[in-house]
Amino acid sequence: MEAVAEKPLTIPGFPRPLKNHEMIVNMGPQHPSTHGVLRLELIVDGEVIVDMIPHIGYLHRCFEKHAEYMSNYQQVIPYCDRMDYIAAMSNDLGYAIACETMLGIKVPERVEYIRVIMAELQRIASHLLAIGTFGMDIGAFTPFLYCFRDRERILDLFEQTCGARLLYNYIWIGGLSHDVPPDFAGKVADFCTSFKPTIKELNSLLTHNKIFVERTAHVGVLQADVAVNYGASGPVLRGSGVEWDLRRNDPYSIYDRFEFDIPVGRGEVGTVGDCWDRYIVRVREMEQSLRILEQAIGQIPEGNVQSAIPKRIRPDSADLYVRTETPKGELGYYIVADGTTSPSRVKVRPPTFVNLSILPAMSRGAMIADVIAILGSIDIVLGEVDR
């Protein structure tokens, strides 16, 4: 009998036909370690990743289309909340700053300070979730509970301020939806005092845990020049040793008034730019956020938080790109105004969308189990990747 020649298998997105010994493994979209609905098509040779094709879009909710269809600029803010739902305050802040820049609004000092406090609290909350779930991906369950316990205290502070725990709609164009409650500064100070020891606790539980280090050191190394070329930002970029933080390098709001350091990865237990470096950058950033909080709560001036809110927003034809440093990296809004009361185009540059696009480059040559560690160390939120 004549042997029938098998037709080589080709996959969209993979440049060559599969070789005989190569296999496709689907990871997701319903997989606990993909942090949402992300499908990774892994092309493997045994246990080694030859290439990977990420499939995104399962959570696409047409943010940009919605923004064009709103009847005014303010209505876009609740949609911004729902992009990176882990750090909704930071998303609102970016959009509000973009609109204020376009309109030339100067917001009151009190608003600036409250915004910085909220953004830094949000950064701690987001990093706690990132660290907790990263540990859990790798098999450490206890740090996850500790992280969520502390994150809950930040959410309580937000709830006392604006009534919501996740999706705040708090930072408005030109101001805030509510003033903070009377004893807010004291509560934030209490949080700062009690949170410092728990970072130490976290370090002893997870950071230098032998199993954790074995799983993360030398894994998923991202070189600095590759990271820059791929547009990485936030802890992913800083983990590769690049000292780049928009709060320092392209200051917005009042970040130029505060003293803080920019932690970078130094390859302390492995190679510069490995998963452990990206993890430790988040831990150290929480300490720096505490420093900013401690400086800010002592200086909140009196004032009306709604005095600069415009009644009607109708910018002249213009387009501008404004970027801010969210917990996950550079969040950019490119807004095109056409002289009407609603934006003609709002393009979002989500940090995790760009960071996720590096995943194939970081995973080639790694093992299947490493993909989980690498993905966890990027800290993606699919709500923001897919918008």
């Binding site: 997105g13 047409c62 289309k65 820059v228 690049v242 002249d316 950019g332 393009k347």
Partner: protein, 159 residues
């Protein structure tokens, strides 16, 4: 370097190519580049020591209506600490533009997104597929002339 100086350098570097500096209202100034030269210009801006635009912050497709569409490139130099916005204008019946994926890898997904939502084709892109929408989606939803479909795979869409 301010955008005017960057424009002067570009004019000197690329004789015969028309560049145009635009600024509207409170927006960022931008340099208009012909769609068939954007790759050369991008490579020059990245590799030249005076420019050193090592990072592409954002790449967006825009529908300006009236038959015009555009691609907007926001570049940033982390070493020189300057920024510039490049714009390319294409017609909306055959929107095609050069891909800058070979200059900045980050353009890969951004260009796929612009193709997905606007139908702009990027010549030289290694893998131009839809990224956010399903593969069988008809049309490009962020175009201003897009009509919302009443049915998706035979199912009535509630509005």
């Amino acid at each position: 370097m301010i955008p005017q100086e960057i424009l002067d350098t570009l004019i000197k570097q690329f004789p015969g190519v028309t560049f145009e500096l635009k600024k509207a209202g409170s927006g960022d100034p931008s340099i208009l580049v012909p769609p068939d030269r954007i790759l050369d210009v991008s490579r020059f801006l990245r590799d030249d020591d005076r420019m050193a635009f090592d990072s592409l912050m954002c790449l967006s497709g825009v529908d300006y209506t009236g038959g015009r569409m555009g691609v907007v490139y926001h570049l940033d130099s982390m070493t020189k600490r300057h920024k510039v916005t490049l714009k390319v204008e294409v017609s909306d019946d055959q929107p095609e533009c050069q891909s800058v994926e070979s200059v900045w890898k980050t353009a890969n997904w951004h260009e796929r997104e612009a193709f997905d939502l606007f139908g702009i084709r990027f010549a030289g892109h290694p893998d131009l597929r839809r990224i956010l929408l399903p593969d069988d989606w008809v049309g490009h939803p962020l175009r201003k002339d897009y009509e919302l479909p009443e049915y998706y795979r035979g199912m009535k869409v509630p509005y």
